[in-house]
């Protein structure tokens, strides 16, 4: 089966900087692919290459099996997109901006403008000039422009920027509805794993232009690491005792001296039997004042993936 979106050894360089480095993506139809990375990781550059806005230095991009080529504009008939913050013509109204997109896309059905205004709850603002819209409503308009033609592929670069929590939930529901009921393939970029994890069927972490990890969205929780968090009066001594007992810890001496960082033991044995740790420390004369099992949150997981990649790269 032909993938909805794919890239083969996609690379973009700017002088010495490799913004995207041999990126290979393969996104199936109806999938919501979360494209996760820090600022400057290469997310937007990748999306721009998928949209033909910039030309790859090497490698290829495919949409619906067709290689992207600036002279074949028909590729983008089935593609909707938001590249960073969406902008519209400020002197025109919401409806006029949508009419422009409808006409440029050659959509004969004039009712689609009413449909999308209704779908994105823009009715109250349809006669308002875009320059007078709030950031959130301007973002809604951007999403409306992206899906007015009922695309089969959506490329969304941080689409929830500027939206309030209710707006974020609305967009999330909309995207899930489009994927589940209309088979729309969504590539959504973000630097927030918790947001992405709520909708993505698959997640790819990009760092320094490389895809460093691919995770099945449903199995993300299994990837989160548990650790035993400890605190006490003399953390350096506690650390030394645990180290001698063979436990794996992350805290550095400097951090412990500052006092604010607790000790974290990642060892599975410690996590599963914290009472053994407590007993060991009490016997050594350093009873813990805090002892709890903690699961890393999604942001911590995301940062850990990046740290692990950087560790491997530097070896």
């Amino acid at each position: 089966m032909i993938e909805a979106i794919s890239t083969v050894d996609l690379t973009k360089t700017y002088g010495d900087l490799r913004a995207v480095d041999n990126l290979n993506l393969s996104i199936g139809r109806g999938e919501i692919f979360g494209f996760l990375g820090l600022n400057g990781a290469g997310k937007t550059t990748t999306i721009r290459m998928l949209l033909g806005m910039i030309t790859p230095t090497s490698g290829y991009c495919y949409l619906n099996g067709e290689r992207i080529n600036k002279s074949n504009m028909d590729i983008w008939n089935d593609v909707g997109y938001i590249v960073e913050t969406p902008y519209s013509y400020p002197e025109l109204t919401v409806r006029e901006n949508l009419e422009i997109v409808r006409r440029l896309r050659g959509i004969e059905d004039r009712d689609c403008v009413d449909w999308i205004i209704d779908k994105l709850k823009l009715g109250e603002y349809e006669s308002r000039r875009v320059e007078h819209l709030s950031l959130g409503n301007a973002q809604r308009l951007g999403i409306a422009k992206a899906i007015i033609h009922r695309p089969k592929i959506l490329l969304l670069d941080e689409p929830t920027n500027g939206l309030d929590p209710a707006g974020i939930v609305e967009v999330r529901r909309l995207l899930m509805d489009l994927a589940e009921n209309e088979g729309v393939t969504v590539l959504i970029s973000s630097h927030k794993l918790d947001e992405i994890s709520k909708i993505a069927t698959n997640i790819g972490i990009i760092h320094e232009g490389r895809l460093i990890k691919e995770i099945d969205g449903g199995g993300l929780q299994d990837q989160l690491r548990k650790s035993l968090v400890l605190d006490g009066r003399n953390k350096l001594a506690m650390r030394s005792i645990l180290f001698q007992a063979g436990y794996d810890m992350s805290a550095k001496d400097g951090d412990l001296r500052k006092g604010s960082h607790p000790l974290r033991v990642h060892d599975e044995g410690a996590v599963n039997a914290p009472e053994k740790i407590a007993t060991l420390l009490v016997k050594a004369g350093h009873p813990p004042t805090l002892l709890k099992v903690e699961e890393e949150d999604l942001e911590m997981y995301f940062l850990r993936m990046i740290e692990e990649y950087e560790g491997i790269r530097n070896e």
Partner: protein, 260 residues
């Protein structure tokens, strides 16, 4: 409706919902009124003596007759047009970058060549309208001031040369479109306009104006009433080539340059 017609109608809408038509019309309206005022001063020697500096400026226009007046209008549209028409072009192209709407245009299933062409067409049509508006207003003002020396032959010659000046000036705006796209906004094209305006004056005074595209329209404007064209066909060809270069380079820029 084909894509080109759709793009032209959209570009027209974008232009007319902005303040640009009003601003450019207001600025160019000054040309016939200032010209008429100078003719009015030149017609009346006693008034001319009492106005000092303004009178000295008016004396540079020559005599109070229709050939001088039409020549003044032609030169004014050639010089003022470089600025006004360039300003319109820089807005039409530069606004897509400064308002960041360029991203929406680039991945639409519409050829970039069509988008660029429609922008130039709308620019040319609006500038032609402005030129005609200034000419008609100029003729009305000239009649109101009661400038002497009008004949139907002179009128036809004057209108022809005025329209040639206008058309050539409009054609010279295509490189502005390129600089607006290359510079991604208004600053580069406006800088380019100012530089060409200054260079046009300097080169014209050195006697090589007929080979410098931006000097040529104003030189042609001097020819009203002389019966024969002041510049050669080479000058006209230079302007056309410059315009084509501007058009093609803008198209190529939109087509091939990375739009980040």
């Amino acid at each position: 409706m084909n894509k080109m017609a759709v793009c032209i109608s959209i570009e027209t809408k974008k232009l007319f919902r902005s303040k640009i038509p009003l601003i450019t019309m207001a600025v160019l309206t000054l040309i016939p009124f200032i010209g008429g005022f100078f003719m009015f001063i030149l017609k009346d020697p006693s008034l001319s003596e009492s106005l000092g500096f303004i009178s000295a400026k008016a004396q540079l226009m020559g005599t109070a007759d229709w050939p001088s007046y039409l020549s003044l209008l032609s030169q004014a549209i050639a010089i003022g047009g470089l600025f006004a028409f360039g300003f319109i072009t820089s807005w039409i192209f530069g606004r897509e970058y400064s308002d960041r709407t360029i991203r929406d245009l680039l991945a639409l299933p519409v050829s970039r060549g069509i988008i660029v062409a429609s922008k130039f067409i709308v620019m040319i049509l609006w500038c032609l309208f402005l030129s005609a508006f200034v000419l008609i207003l100029g003729l009305i003002v000239g009649n109101m001031v009661d400038i002497p020396g009008m004949s139907s032959a002179l009128l036809m010659d004057g209108i022809k040369i005025y329209m040639i000046c206008s058309l050539l000036t409009i054609l010279l705006s295509t490189p502005v479109g390129f600089f607006a796209s290359y510079g991604r906004g208004y600053l580069s094209p406006l800088g380019f306009i100012v530089i060409t305006l200054i260079l046009a004056q300097i080169v014209a005074t050195t006697g090589y104006g007929e080979f410098f595209p931006w000097s040529i329209p104003a030189i042609i404007g001097i020819g009203i009433g002389n019966g024969e064209p002041i510049v050669s066909g080479i000058s006209i060809a230079i302007v056309f080539l410059t315009s084509i270069l501007g058009l093609v380079s803008t198209m190529l820029w939109w087509r091939y340059a990375d739009q980040s």
